[in-house]
Symmetry: C2
Subunit: 256 residues, 2 copies
Amino acid sequence: MKEKITSGQNKRVKQWRALTSKKGRKATQSYLLEGWHLVQEALKAQLPLTAIMGTAEQLDAHTASFPANVDVFELTDSIAKTLGDTSTPQGIFATAPMPDDTAVDPATATGTWLFLDQVQDPGNIGTMVRTADAAGLTGVVLGQGSASRFLPKVLRSMQGSQFHIQLVEGDLHEWITAFTQRQLPVYGTNLDPQAKDYRDIDALQAGAIVMGNEGNGMAPDLQQLTTRNLYIPIKGQAESLNVAVAAGIVMFRLVG
Amino acid sequence: MKEKITSGQNKRVKQWRALTSKKGRKATQSYLLEGWHLVQEALKAQLPLTAIMGTAEQLDAHTASFPANVDVFELTDSIAKTLGDTSTPQGIFATAPMPDDTAVDPATATGTWLFLDQVQDPGNIGTMVRTADAAGLTGVVLGQGSASRFLPKVLRSMQGSQFHIQLVEGDLHEWITAFTQRQLPVYGTNLDPQAKDYRDIDALQAGAIVMGNEGNGMAPDLQQLTTRNLYIPIKGQAESLNVAVAAGIVMFRLVG
């Protein structure tokens, strides 16, 4: 089905615009993908898209890639502009159903994971998901207090890696405990007197690495649950590393 | 000297505002530092600041740290807001003289360096300078076509590391050639059939690592000048790594 939408007051358009808010996403249990790269990655991953929307030009350019059973909506340029988050929107979008976070059970999850505790910056979260994918990790768990994985900037900076690995929201107390009870190591990354140089740890076959908030690091109560805390020795005068860079260094040392 | 400025039309205020542009920086051969963290780092590094400006509240809070010979200007809150780049300005600023790029001669430079070829994203550049500092590198050279090190977002994300290590603009053809002629290795980071796994390279005592443009990598003519090209093996389905993450992984493996 292909429908042409010419009014900005169209009910669907209003729903799509509302997907920038948590409330709007909850109402329709879906989120917005923007730009051809993301839409293409979602199609490659056979994500059950609920709609593809774009300008006539964009739909023409990519129509050969659309699955037969997805509703397609042609938008005027001015409507497309109101959907986009970027200053230079590409004019193509899709809606995808919210993933089912209960599909992954901490008690039986295997492989290597990255746990994010209250990471705030959307670019950092997206970059860490992308890096976890590149390093061959199994998945990423966003703990309570981390920025939403549906924010446009998070979606953009993940660059499709959210479709390659598991990405769930969860309670990190539960995840950490579920891993350590099964003797799977969980490595925190706070600076503390007992922390161990990350280079002195064996490669991780199954287990998790925890990265904390940009300013405050991991919450102390989570830190107490970990198997051990790691640190990256700083040689120069910088006070710290960017969290996404630190995560990349540790993941590529222990997993990648 | 402390002077109070109450008019937004004041000549100095106009000059400070103009420091967001290349033309404005060139006219006064100075650039703007924003926020107490950066101003404090500049003071710690004994940078010869040409002025410190702030709201009455901010000046009061930090006056004990100001050197006696720096001109201080008190600004109204509304003037302070017009100077700031951030949406939540701290209300304290300083002007610093443009660094002298000819102070470092490629032909005699020693130690370990990061060369940036046409890196565009201000956050990436700032993060790489911060990471180079943390990994103990000697300096960073911004090649032609890289974003300016004086952009507010670059300055912010460097977090003061620009005062801890050498940071210069230069011609990378000249820098690479000057290093390889002295048998100092220069490692490119483009994917190419002859590239070598970064983990199979000896620790770098003196030499350079080159990171390229986010989309296109290093320029081919620069790549031909390097000693050898390195790559980071990607295990998952991600197409690439964020340039700042990749730089962090390589720097901490070879230098940090």
